[in-house]
């Protein structure tokens, strides 16, 4: 399913999107399969599936550990695409990985593999818009959305460059920092959102440090079309206790914030 169709559908229901991240193969492909089902059952609208890289410099400790577990358990790009093609789900699947993983496989091949396995969008946190031309071309050819990040440090000039190349949705980073931790949702986020929304119609999803329903409700009330939560889900997986059930209830709780 294309990302834009999902956002259209949600708009007609007047809901925000819950985008949930987990790392593929953490701690096994079997668990990833059941975790994806649980997240969707709980209300996740889009699944962001991390393809682990050994040196994830944009991630905090929670996702770093997930990455280590997944790589140790044998996750590779080959197995990732196999896994994705066996997930029979009717929500958009987004791949999150670092540029070297894509580069090594070959940009064209990587995006073709995304397309044929059922990935409809891709997020590359260490690839700024300036370096993205080749990947952008491959994505356009294969109908895979290339999702860019904007940050509180992004100035207007850069924002326009990024919006020019963005498809699917825009990933707004809630604060300077890495993934995980907790973010205070305050007026600075509201101002950022307002500023960006003046320049674009593309849906905006806010991520980094999102773990509870109140944060979600605030972000949606400030005008975002979606929220992204990752470390909170990965924490549950890391605990190894009652994983599917707790993933489902957290997704359900966060999703309720999207409906307020």
């Amino acid at each position: 399913m294309r990302i834009s169709d999902k956002f259209e559908e949600l708009k007609s229901r007047n809901e925000g999107a819950l985008i949930s991240y987990i790392c593929a193969g953490d701690p096994s492909t079997e668990l990833t399969k059941s975790a994806v089902k649980a997240l969707i059952k709980g209300g996740a609208d889009i699944i962001e599936l991390g393809l682990p890289f050994s040196d994830p410099c944009a991630d905090g400790p929670v996702i770093q550990s997930a990455t280590d577990r997944a790589i140790s358990a044998g996750m590779t790009p080959e197995r990732y695409f196999e896994l994705v093609s066996t997930l029979q789900v009717d929500v958009p699947l987004v791949c999150m990985t670092y540029y070297n993983i894509i580069y090594k496989r070959g940009i064209k091949k990587f995006i073709e593999d995304c397309s044929s396995s059922g990935i409809t969008g891709i997020i590359v946190p260490d690839l700024p818009v300036e370096e993205s031309d080749e990947l952008g071309l491959a994505c356009a050819k294969n109908k895979v959305d290339l999702i860019f990040l904007v940050a509180p440090t992004t100035n207007e000039n850069r924002l326009h460059k990024i919006l020019d190349k963005s498809t699917g949705f825009l990933y707004m980073v809630s604060r300077t920092g890495v993934t995980g931790g907790s973010t205070d949702i305050g007026t600075d986020i509201a101002d950022l959102l307002t500023g960006i929304k003046k320049c674009t119609d593309i849906p905006i999803a806010v991520g980094f440090g999102i773990s509870n329903r109140n944060q979600v409700a605030d972000i949606i009330s400030y005008g975002a079309e979606g929220v992204i939560a990752g470390s909170a889900f990965v924490d549950i997986i890391a605990s190894g206790k009652n994983v599917e059930h707790r993933l489902e209830s957290l997704a359900c709780d966060l999703k309720s914030g999207c409906r307020e």
Partner: protein, 398 residues
């Protein structure tokens, strides 16, 4: 050509959060690099604090033994014991001019961390050093040095707990504190403009050699040899000679304990010689990686060469044939360490011993010509424990 690139290498592969900071750094650097006040300040520190210029020393015993006229560029005499201070003084001063209050740095052996702590203490900047937890144990003395100099040292427990993970952690810190903080990278690696800035600050080595060798010999050397981890001492001595096509240049990488790879690790750190094109720590360069694109842990007896990547400009110069990448093993470097100490009365750093070893191995072949300059990038006092542990102690009763 895009000025952030060297051929296909270089660029800026970093999170969006950092892009404005890289732009700011580039702007401020181009503003100050030719600013007379900045230059005057930097020259003052380089002369009166660091002890420049360093001698170009004719190593007569080594020359006699290897039947080649060998000069040593004595970066071991720079304050702190290595070339690293040339760069940290330059960047710390730049940070000061930019109004930053805080500097952070990564370190492997602790040499760059120490040089950063020295510059930070002197210029009154709050200094935090990231160091892999394994390296903290291996290089205890340098941890003490940094702490005595007033820096804080943070042990990095993630990933392989070595230099590459310390760089990741420093990047994460910078992403979080980008407004107040300058990330003081220790080699010609990382996103543009770092490879350029560090090369410029280290180029003082090659500029001095150019004048000194002219005075002493009336000509340029046939070849210049430097070890290469990230590649800052190599770029520093090579750069001013790039236009002099008759000067051959050799970048000696760490061959470690063998040239093999496993799916997780290499037994060496020879990224220029054996690595494949990839993206690591913000730049496209040659990196040690497996077929899936995961970065391999590297190995070298010298912690300062123990890195899975290499500066993008070096990767480019190697591709174009202007420099010759090569490697020597742990064993060969250890032998050179001892031979140099006994022949010349200078204990070289294990990093620099790689450059020495290459000359010792190749001198007789004639490949290096008659007049050779070796960059003696640092002194070896920091390495005594490593040498003793390697069982390479020659003589002595301890």
């Amino acid at each position: 050509m895009n000025k952030s690139k060297y051929g296909i290498y270089g660029g800026q592969y970093v999170p969006e959060i950092l892009m404005p900071a890289l732009q700011e750094l580039e702007d401020e650097y181009s503003r100050y690099r030719n600013d007379p006040q900045f230059q005057q300040d930097l020259n003052y520190y380089l002369r009166d604090f660091a002890g420049r210029e360093t001698p170009l020393y004719h190593a007569k015993n080594l020359s006699r033994k290897y039947k080649t006229k060998i000069y040593l560029k004595r970066e071991d005499l720079v304050h702190g014991g290595a070339h690293k201070l040339n760069n940290t003084l330059g960047q710390a001063l730049l940070a000061k001019y930019m109004g930053k209050k805080r500097i952070i740095a990564e370190t492997g052996a602790g040499q760059h961390g120490t040089a950063t702590s020295m510059a930070g203490a002197n210029l009154n900047l709050d200094t935090l050093i990231y160091m892999g937890a394994k390296d903290v144990v291996r290089q205890k003395m340098n941890v003490y040095r940094m702490e005595i100099l007033g820096a804080r040292v943070k042990a990095v427990e993630s990933g392989s707990k070595t230099l590459k993970d310390a760089i990741n952690e420093a990047l994460r810190d910078w992403v979080t504190n980008v407004d107040t903080t300058h990330y003081l990278i220790g080699s010609v690696v990382g996103p543009h403009p770092y490879p350029m800035i560090v090369r410029d600050f280290q180029s003082i080595i090659g500029k001095e050699v150019k004048e000194q060798i002219m005075q002493k010999e009336g000509r340029y050397p046939d070849s210049i040899i430097a070890c290469a981890g990230g590649g800052s001492n190599a770029m520093g001595i090579f750069y001013p000679f790039i236009e002099n096509k008759d000067v051959s240049m050799f970048a000696v990488e760490a061959g470690g304990s063998g040239m093999e790879l496993t799916s997780k690790a290499a037994l060496h750190s020879a990224s220029m010689c054996t690595g494949e094109v990839g993206v690591l720590h913000g730049a496209c360069t040659k990196v040690l990686q497996n077929q899936n694109g995961q970065i391999l842990e590297s190995h070298s007896i010298s912690a300062g060469l123990d890195y899975s990547g290499v500066g993008p400009e070096l990767a480019y110069l190697a591709d174009t044939g202007r420099i010759n990448p090569c490697h020597v093993s742990d064993e060969e470097a250890l032998n050179a360490f001892h031979e140099m100490s006994r022949l010349e009365g200078i204990i070289p750093a294990l990093e620099s011993s790689h450059a020495l070893a290459y000359v010792m191995i190749k001198a007789e072949s004639g490949e290096l010509g008659d007049l050779v300059v070796i960059n003696l990038s640092g002194r070896g006092d920091k390495d005594l424990e490593t040498v003793i542990k390697a069982g390479k102690w020659k003589g002595g009763n301890i």
